[in-house]
């Protein structure tokens, strides 16, 4: 069985910028959540999520050692820095936008979150 759950329940995140690219680091809240996200939260899935909001491709990097994924969102910041007209010109809260993504999450992954609450 599974449930439709927002990413924010499976992971925490922080975002930053490099020019016109926003990076979003997604840190899984449990080992099971990481295994699930590594499989399901692909660059393609994230690109779909941000369709219409970013002008360039999405790249994904894996940090198994930290149970984290790093996404680069190219063309996300309207030029970036002082060039951009966006409120979030430096992508500081792009992380929160990604955490809205909804995923079909199996029960055992959900259980892992409730139980140990992951690594602190």
């Amino acid at each position: 069985m599974a449930a439709r759950v927002q990413l924010r329940h499976l992971a925490h995140a922080r975002s930053g910028d490099k020019g016109d690219t926003a990076n979003v680091g997604v840190i899984a809240r449990s080992a099971e959540a990481y295994a699930f996200l590594k499989r399901e939260l692909t660059a393609g899935r994230v690109a779909e999520h941000f369709a219409g909001m970013i002008d360039g491709p999405v790249e994904r990097y894996e940090l198994d050692n930290l149970q984290a994924l790093n996404f680069l969102l190219h063309g996300a910041l309207g030029g970036g820095g002082t060039v951009s007209l966006m409120t979030d010109a430096q992508g500081k809260v792009y992380s929160t936008a990604l955490l809205r993504a909804e995923l079909e999450v199996p029960d055992d992954v959900l259980a892992s979150l409730a139980a140990g609450r992951g690594e602190r």
């Binding site: 309207g78 007209l85 966006m86 602190r120």
Partner: protein, 488 residues
Amino acid sequence: MRDLRSAGGTGFGGAASFARMSRHSPNGADSPKRALRIACGQGFWGDRLDAPVEQVRRGPIDVLMLDYLAEVTMSILQKQKARDPAQGYARDFVPLLEEIFPDIVEKGIRVISNAGGVNIAGCRDGLVEAARAAGVAGRARIGTVTGDDILERLPDLIAAGHELANMDDGRPLSEVLDLVESANAYIGARPIVEALARGADVIVTGRSTDTALTYAPMIHAFGWSWDDWDRIAHGIVAGHINECGAQASGGNCMIDWETIPDLADVGYPIIEATPEGPFVLTKHDGTGGRITPAIVKEQILYEMSDPKAYITPDGVADFTTIRLEADGPDRVRVHGVKGSPRTDRLKVSISHRAGFKAVGTLVYAWPYAVAKAQKADAVLRERLDRLGLVFDEVRTEYVGWNATHGPLAGPPPEDLAEVELRVAVKSEDKAPVERFTREIAPLILSGPPGVTGFAGGRPRVQDIVAYWPALIDRSAIEPGIEVEVVEV
């Protein structure tokens, strides 16, 4: 008065005495009996004013590092220097040092900062006066590192074949050369290590790679050789964790944010470095904030591109090899980092004029707050059209509804108490942007009702400064780097 400047001496003082370190025996009997404590006093220029003072006074540290230079800071400093040749450095650094000079001299703390901006000599002169005013004349040395500033050299460099192509789109710098306002190479740790070896208590650089402000003292204290890639990689990771102030110790932290204690007194990060490479991230006892593996992970991922290749002038760190675990309350130990050789080029940070922009805001209140704000936006845009004003971009956001999440925010919530209409424009020409700034206030009397939030006055026209990252051969920069150390 403890003298830290015996010939060839590289010792560090500290509140607790410990063995002097010799740079020639990294793993020998001279190794320190306790870790080298490198404290971050500031994550950016504009960070909490008293954080560096707290770091110096709330517990023992050996090194205080402060980062003043964001990407476009250099262009601001160049403009200041153009108006007044005595300016061009981070002015706040001087009164800070006046405040803490007695502490750092008494405790043997080294201060390392990139506050020099584009007038490192001016900063040094300010520090000399500050030292005298603080009563430490004759008891301190100030080191400076110059050679990063290549603004005047650009035409010659281009003529010699250095394209300084934009790393994002490949354009040659010659395309925008007449718009350039600053150009600085990111230089690495070597000159900082030299200044430390020559006994400088306060070291001021221009553009240095931010992480080097943390790992240079590690290389100096432990005598790491310049090709000890794994140890240097530990230093790079330590620098990345340490360089954003409280973001590593509970600030801007998403995990369990609501339970993080006492952010008003958040302890800024301190790296406890060891000769082997592994280090502990911690903060002073009794300060607020929190340090856990999950929190450190947030900082590690911040402003990260390819984690396997975090490049600095002194080496490349593979962040996928980091191991970390809790080492007691508010202590996280980091180890296992692998590194690889430095590259043959240095990164260059160039900024250039890129037009003008302005942002106007008005607040619309319930009922129908969003609908009224949208109507105001339509009126404003029609006014701009009727005036024949042309912009490169006009962007409307509604703060309280969709300014940060755009279409992901969905339809506006029913019954919002208020929403802020935010309209931003940019153009290569100043005139249309200037005219735009005069079209906001009139909406108060001539636009939709329920409008307020104009106490700030007319929006100001801002200069747009574009950032141009490039690469250059080391041979074009390194021979020109100079280190000077003067007695106060």
